[in-house]
């Protein structure tokens, strides 16, 4: 490829290409087309060939060089990316406007403005490349400057403060000591006189009822003395008496609050 590049007429047409070194550079351009990071990078390389301050560069000359490059690449059947062709079209347009006298009809930026902006972009890119090189040339950490070789790790200790008060301790103990009382609940029926039992008992006794009789006299044998049993039998008997009164079989009387409750068989109605 390098050999054929030598015969590219466009490159010969560019001034200052007579020296061998220059021709080599131009050849390298073509050969390294993959090495360029886009058309702007290539333009910057071409601009360097002019060896002038980038702000004083001949954009027209640069456009011609670029177009020549594209032509040459085509002749060599090097497939250029679309970007390169777009740039070529733009530069061809710029070149034509730079060559023609300014047309007052055309609005927008002048060809000179466009050329100046391109020159600015090239200068800015060149400046950034130089800045990058300066940056990389600094005294870098791990190359010229070094951090402590044996950094000491800061030991992070975590101290746990246990929160427990006397109240927690006592609650825990109380919970343990009273747990026995919380056994599954089974009702102790020994001391319970049910309403069914009271009803049966009352029904059986009701026929023999003469005059008003105290509720306490109806309590079954053995239920009238101890508190729990007496309370249960009293409540059941009273409830049973209410049921019988509702059925119209007995009458209930209590002379005063807390006075004894008395029953008697309801007398048959006169009619």
């Amino acid at each position: 490829m390098a050999r054929s590049a030598r015969d590219i007429p466009h490159l010969r047409a560019v001034p200052d290409t007579d020296t061998v070194a220059q021709r080599r550079a131009d050849e390298a351009l073509i050969v390294d087309v993959d090495g360029y990071e886009g058309p702007l990078d290539l333009l910057l390389t071409l601009a360097r060939v002019q060896k002038v301050d980038l702000m004083k560069i001949s954009v027209l000359h640069l456009a011609e060089q670029y177009l020549a490059f594209v032509e040459q690449a085509r002749a060599l059947r090097i497939e250029l990316a679309a970007d390169y062709l777009v740039m070529a079209a733009w530069l061809a347009f710029l070149k034509s406007r730079l060559l023609l006298p300014p047309d007052p009809e055309i609005e927008g930026p002048t060809a000179e403005d466009m050329a100046a902006h391109l020159a600015f972009q090239l200068e800015r890119l060149a400046a950034m490349r130089q800045a990058a090189a300066q940056l990389m040339g600094r005294d870098r950490l791990g190359i010229s400057r070094f951090a402590r070789g044996t950094p000491e790790v800061v030991a992070k200790t975590r101290r746990t403060e246990w929160q427990a008060g006397l109240i927690d301790l006592m609650r825990a103990y109380a919970r343990l000591k009273t747990r026995g009382e919380f056994r599954p609940y089974a009702f102790d029926r020994r001391d319970v006189f049910t309403m069914e039992q009271a009803l049966d008992r009352l029904r059986g006794m009701i026929g023999y009822l003469g005059d008003w009789t105290d509720l306490a006299d109806f309590l079954p044998e053995g239920w009238g003395t101890r508190g729990a049993r007496r309370r249960s039998a009293t409540a059941a008997t009273f409830a049973a008496s209410l049921e019988l009164a509702r059925q119209g079989r007995i009458e209930i009387r209590q002379s005063d609050p807390f006075a004894p409750i008395r029953f008697r068989r309801k007398p048959p109605t006169p009619d």
């Binding site: 070094f146 951090a147 402590r148 070789g149 044996t150 000491e152 790790v153 800061v154 030991a155 992070k156 200790t157 975590r158 101290r159 746990t160 403060e161 246990w162 929160q163 427990a164 008060g165 006397l166 109240i167 927690d168 301790l169 006592m170 609650r171 825990a172 103990y173 109380a174 919970r175 343990l176 000591k177 009273t178 747990r179 009382e181 919380f182 609940y185 009702f187 001391d191 319970v192 049910t194 309403m195 069914e196 101890r226 508190g227 729990a228 249960s232 409540a235 059941a236 409830a239 049921e243």
Partner: protein
Amino acid sequence: MAEQERMVEAILFASSRPLTVRDLADRLPPGCDPAEALAGLRRAYAGRGVVLERIGDGYAFRTAADLSFLMQTETVEQRRLSRAAIETLAIIAYHQPVTRAEIEEIRGVAVSRGTLDQLIEMDWVRIGRRRMTPGRPATFVVTETFLDHFGLESARDLPGLAELRAAGLLEARPPAEGLRVPLALGGEDDDMPATAPADDFFKDD
């Protein structure tokens, strides 16, 4: 500061291990005297936050011993004791000296090794005398630290069960369900509220 001291200072600072005089000589330009530079540096760093120490055959910079407290940060974390731990602790406090088997009998569940270890590590519980019974089991007792933490003069100051009950610390009674006085014949209105008075049922037992 002499140039060779600067060089030795930089080399030692950046080195990941102590360096011997020979190591230093290999790295310094010809004609340098590492021993002399080391002596100079040692004087320069004497009494500073960092000192030049001799470690075996080598030399290295180390934090001054009195400043080692700066190399650690302590964070305090407040945590609650687990239920198992607080119950175990309560049993030890109320029953000390108490064996592990006794603790398990009172709690009704096995005591995990970790729970007792934790209490011992916290210095709230320590191992007491062995019980003079078959197997000579170890007993556990509470420590001074425990008494300090809970503001007790002695474990005998712990309130008794009756006091706990009086203070309302005993948990509420079991739910009243089932205490219903069996009067109901099946009607919906027949439920008797059975709350406090039902206590009487038990008191008489």
